[in-house]
């Protein structure tokens, strides 16, 4: 396949029930009313020259290149701003138009360097294309006089350059930043010929501006003014493969643009239904880790963790591992074995890992890192609605009137969805933010939250119950909806509970720290402001009442009838790219794929027939229980694919002790991660660029992941799992992940209609895809709840046992930032680190002053579990009494401090609340120093000088 840019229809698609028919150069075309002449022409296969128009931005009408003649209309209107009318006859190529366009083009070119042949955008430049299209051969105006040709290039962004000498001031970049990204970082400075693009203040370069490096402006630029550095370094791409981002649960799709085996750039795919042509800095630019020198390419083994690693070939590694697994099973029994699937890996890989553990190891001791993030979502939404997943697609937000965001920081965690949400907010939708911290969303350009409820960490349930109290006692509940769709008796039981005085906003104010009036206002707005949609994140789930909070959210949506149509719903914003998929694939110890309990004999029979082995009818161990059992000496071996539990799980010391107590820890990953310090076998993993498979995003959208280059470690991850299975005696013979998906479809009722052929043809499918929903399910619970009647669950506020006191007077809560991803194994190995060199502790000025702490100082952060040190950042984003940090860097070890308290229903750890004390410090803690020494020792590889620096 040769390289072509994605088709550009010039102006955005219009939604309309009315069709209009017109004639473009004699060709008849019918389009939705409101469509521009430019788009209609493009749809007939023709193309009208253009510079300032592109189809993901609103029409602007500034370049005057797109002029056309229309019968019965005077002059030469711009086709990008003229809507078609019934019977309209348009001429796009006439001698008069040619002359006009040539003149316009000449003016542009006269202020543009004529070094096309040596320009990095040669043959991939719209200006060049359009100059050719209008037949421009020479320029009459000459280059003397004022021009911008000497302007210096701004190279401050690590991924793209800005060379103003090539700028034609079409303002596509400015509009992309405003309309698509919503950051408003760019402006056109000056007027007329002196005008130029600027990143904020005249003195600002891109890096020091508000720019978040999403790349939208680069994509929009029709010239080489804004261009990826990689194109300059590697050259123009030669082919493109559509694939899915492996970072977050938004699931943006990209064209991986390749030159030979080298990836030149990732360009957001306009047909991607999750991202609609947008991206964030991670997916767009931060893929360099795939080729990072620290990637481990050879399998390694060692008998004990104080030995250096020994590089071996695949066969030796697999034989050694299989022998260990068999030995441990014979010696301690099958329940001494277990494994962890990864939310970063594909559905097919995850399915195989849990199959290996259930069918090969013979135990249900399989869990997934979703345990530490969204397990309460699964439990809560299954209990109330009947399905462990969000209810909407992302497009739905376009119809929301009130958006309620709780415990989520979408501009950092889910940036591309945040941009779509912000676009809707700028159009006038109302916003309620419930978060201890003043997140960016609370106030950003042209957006201000109508209510920000800055609650004390750990009081989500109290706040949600208080909201419910107002809705019920003020008669704002949607009784018709409830009677029709929910269990009325359960509703009444719940309504009585929430109506009690002890659940009123006034009564709870001392607990939540939120003013009663604000809660009352927010409740009224959500209940009566039109379509109300709730979006939530880890600030909801990672609490001792995580599951209760999810159910409290579901209660609110049911009570107000905000479920089952566009614009409403309950939407978990998933952390990792395939959290939804990992959960769907049967990664939990009590469930087979499709959320069916292992105790269900009929489901087991299905799997037993397909796999030819008996499945244990009892649930297996969860991650924390595996670690406990290891410390007790009853759990001995674990296969961990693509997860770093030592860094990502709470109470690091407890995890370390559990891992150290095991006899065989098998880590299958890209890098020697922190968990690998305790491993006996290291199996090199492959990146998403090197494998085929599917990811499922937060909208339940199953999307293809396509191999764009051969795995440099030799195998795709599913192949490694298959080889391991074969080494322990299983007869697996998959030749392609599509066969694994076929097996998933045979065994999982919500996936019956899913296969690779359809995914290739349709781009993506949203489960359930089956006889009842042959084309998938963008929105769930449309005609009724999956469980039958919606279930109201009483969620009593139970304070966490993690309390502040004189020794630990502050509450620590944790989060993430835009440029880094989770434990940072990938993003830290890219230039994204320029935005976040270290984890910082945010502390309120009053608390800082009381402790003599200034921004930039080292502080000691101590809790009952342990202590660490990091630098302070004094800010009033956090309330007095609350401190905040991220957990992207291993040196910080923020989880040394977090406790092992967890959600009552799922044991999802309580990351979001830890009582701590802050004191000035002058350097790393003892644990950090010991840990660093142990890590360095543990990473030695025999015969190499390699001691990877973390």
């Amino acid at each position: 396949m040769g390289y072509e840019r994605q088709a550009d229809f010039g102006t955005p698609e219009v939604r309309s029930d009315q069709e209009v028919t017109c004639f473009i150069d004699g060709r008849e075309v019918s389009v939705p009313a409101g469509t521009t002449v430019m788009r209609a022409a493009a749809l007939t296969g023709g193309s009208i020259p253009k510079l300032c128009a592109t189809d993901n931005l609103r029409q602007f009408g500034s370049c005057r290149l797109c002029l056309v003649e229309i019968d019965g209309m005077r002059g030469t209107p711009a086709s990008c701003t003229t809507p078609v009318a019934e019977g309209m006859k348009v001429h796009t190529q006439t001698p008069r138009l040619q002359k006009l366009r040539k003149g316009v083009m000449e003016l542009y070119i006269s202020d543009h360097p004529l070094d096309c042949l040596t320009c990095s955008a040669n043959n991939d430049c719209e200006l060049q294309d359009q100059a050719a299209a209008v037949g421009l051969r020479d320029v009459r105006f000459g280059y003397e006089g004022e021009n911008h040709l000497g302007a210096p290039t701004d190279t401050s962004n690590p991924y793209f350059d800005f060379d103003p000498s090539k700028c034609i001031v079409c303002s596509r970049c400015v509009r992309a930043c405003d309309e698509v990204q919503g950051t408003f970082a760019l402006t056109i400075e000056g007027r007329g010929f002196g005008s130029k693009v600027s990143a904020g203040l005249a003195s600002d370069d891109y890096f020091s501006s508000e720019c978040v490096s999403c790349g939208a402006c680069v994509q929009a630029c029709p010239t080489a003014t804004l261009q990826e550095k990689a194109v300059k370094e590697i050259g123009k791409p030669e082919r493109a493969v559509v694939t899915t981002c492996a970072y977050c649960g938004v699931g943006c799709t990209f064209r991986a643009e390749m030159r030979g085996e080298q990836l030149v750039r990732m360009v957001p795919w306009k047909d991607g239904k999750a991202n609609r042509g947008h991206s964030c800095v991670k997916g767009r630019f931060a893929w360099g880790y795939a080729q990072h020198q620290e990637r481990i390419l050879s399998p390694m083994i060692r008998e004990s963790i104080d030995q250096p690693w020994r590089e071996v070939n695949w066969e030796e590694a697999l034989t050694y591992t299989a022998n260990e697994i068999n030995r441990i099973r014979d010696q301690y029994g099958r329940n001494a074995l277990g494994g962890i699937t990864s939310s970063r890996c594909t559905n097919e890989e995850t399915f195989l890992v849990q199959k290996l553990i259930r069918a090969g190891f013979g135990t249900n001791n399989v869990d997934t890192c979703a345990r530490v993030c969204h397990s309460p979502t699964g439990y809560g939404l299954k209990t109330t609605f009947g399905t462990s997943a969000g209810t909407q697609d992302f497009d739905s937000v376009e119809d929301s009137d009130v958006v309620l965001v709780i415990g989520a920081n979408p501009t950092d965690g889910h940036p591309v969805f945040a941009s779509r949400m912000k676009r809707r907010l700028r159009q006038g939708a109302k916003l309620i933010v419930i978060d201890p911290r003043r997140t960016d969303l609370v106030r950003s350009p042209h957006i201000a939250a109508d209510y920000h409820l800055p609650l004390r960490p750990g009081t989500n349930v109290a706040v949600l119950t208080a909201l419910a109290h107002v809705i019920v006692t003020e008669g704002l509940a949607d009784e018709a909806f409830i009677r029709e769709r929910c269990d009325w008796d359960e509703y009444q039981h719940w309504a009585e509970f929430v109506s009690a005085e002890r659940n009123s906003p006034e009564f709870l104010a001392p607990v939540t720290g939120v003013e009663a009036d604000a809660i009352r206002g927010a409740a009224r707005l959500y209940a009566s402001g039109g379509n109300g949609a709730i979006y939530y994140g880890l600030g909801v789930t990672e609490h001792s009442q995580g599951s209760s909070t999810v159910m409290a959210i579901a209660n609110l949506a049911m009570a107000t009838g905000n479920i089952g149509r566009r614009g409403v719903g309950v939407n978990p914003l998933r952390g990792q790219n395939n959290v939804q998929g990992a959960c769907d694939m049967g990664s939990f110890p009590h469930e087979l794929s499709g959320y069916r309990h292992v105790s269900d004999a009929a489901t087991r029979a299905l799997f037993e027939a397909e796999w030819g082995v008996a499945i244990d009818p009892e649930p297996g161990l969860r991650i924390p229980n595996m670690l406990d059992a290891a410390t007790d000496g009853t759990f001995k071996a674990i296969y961990i694919q693509g997860e770093d539990i030592l860094q990502s799980d709470p109470d690091t010391k407890h995890v370390a002790a559990g891992l150290a107590a095991m006899e065989c820890v098998i880590v299958h990953d890209l890098f020697l991660n922190e968990t690998a310090n305790y491993a006996h076998v290291f199996l090199p993993g492959s990146t998403f660029l090197e494998k085929n498979g599917t990811f499922t995003n937060a909208e339940r959208r199953i999307q293809p992941v396509r191999k764009v280059m051969e795995p440099i470690n030799g195998y795709e991850d599913w192949q490694v799992t298959q080889e391991l299975a074969r080494a322990i005696g299983l007869d697996w013979n998959y030749t392609h992940p599509s066969e694994i998906m076929d097996e998933i479809a045979r065994l999982t009722p919500t996936f019956t209609g899913v296969n690779y052929k359809r995914l290739d043809a349709e781009g993506s499918l949203q489960w359930p895809v089956n006889d009842k929903a042959p084309d998938g399910s963008p929105i769930m619970h449309v005609d009724g709840f999956v469980r039958g009647r919606g279930k109201f669950v009483v969620t009593d506020y139970v304070p966490t046992d993690e309390r502040t006191g004189p020794r630990f007077p502050l509450l620590l809560t944790t989060g993430r930032i835009l440029s880094q991803y989770n434990v940072g194994a990938q993003t830290r190995r890219t230039a994204n680190s320029v935005w976040h060199e270290e984890d910082l502790l945010e502390i309120h000025p009053t608390d800082a002053e009381n402790r003599g702490v200034k921004s930039g100082d080292w502080v000691r952060l101590a809790s009952r579990s342990g202590e660490t040190t990091l630098r302070a950042h004094v800010t009033d984003r956090v309330a007095p009494g609350v401190v905040y940090t991220t957990f992207h860097h291993p040196a910080t070890q923020a989880n040394v401090v977090t406790t092992d308290y967890s959600d009552w229903a799922t044991n999802c750890p309580e990351y979001k609340v830890t009582a701590v004390q802050i004191t000035p410090s002058n350097g790393p803690s003892d644990w950090q120093e010991d840990y660093e020494a142990q890590a360095t020792l543990s990473r030695r590889i025999e015969g190499t000088a390699m001691e990877p620096a973390e």
Partner: protein
């Protein structure tokens, strides 16, 4: 470093009980929850200790779990 101690399991059972107190049939629901999510080893470990420190509601639920297990054989 503590492992799978009875205290920890009792803490878990009590925590579940505190969160299901307002259920229409709390003891039965708690018992169902524990049976659905705990391994038999964990359940047996907690049942084996008569004075594990269970709150009354959790104790009532565990009695139900024990009865169901005895019944199932």
């Amino acid at each position: 470093m503590s492992g799978q101690t009875v205290e920890k399991l009792a803490y878990m059972a009590n925590q579940i009980a505190r969160n299901m107190t307002f259920d229409a049939t709390p003891a039965a629901s708690i018992a169902e929850h524990i049976t659905a999510f705990w391994t038999p080893v964990m359940i047996d470990m907690l049942l084996a200790q008569s004075n594990a420190g269970l709150d009354p509601l959790a104790a009532e639920a565990m009695a139900k779990v024990a009865a169901a297990r005895a019944h199932a054989g």
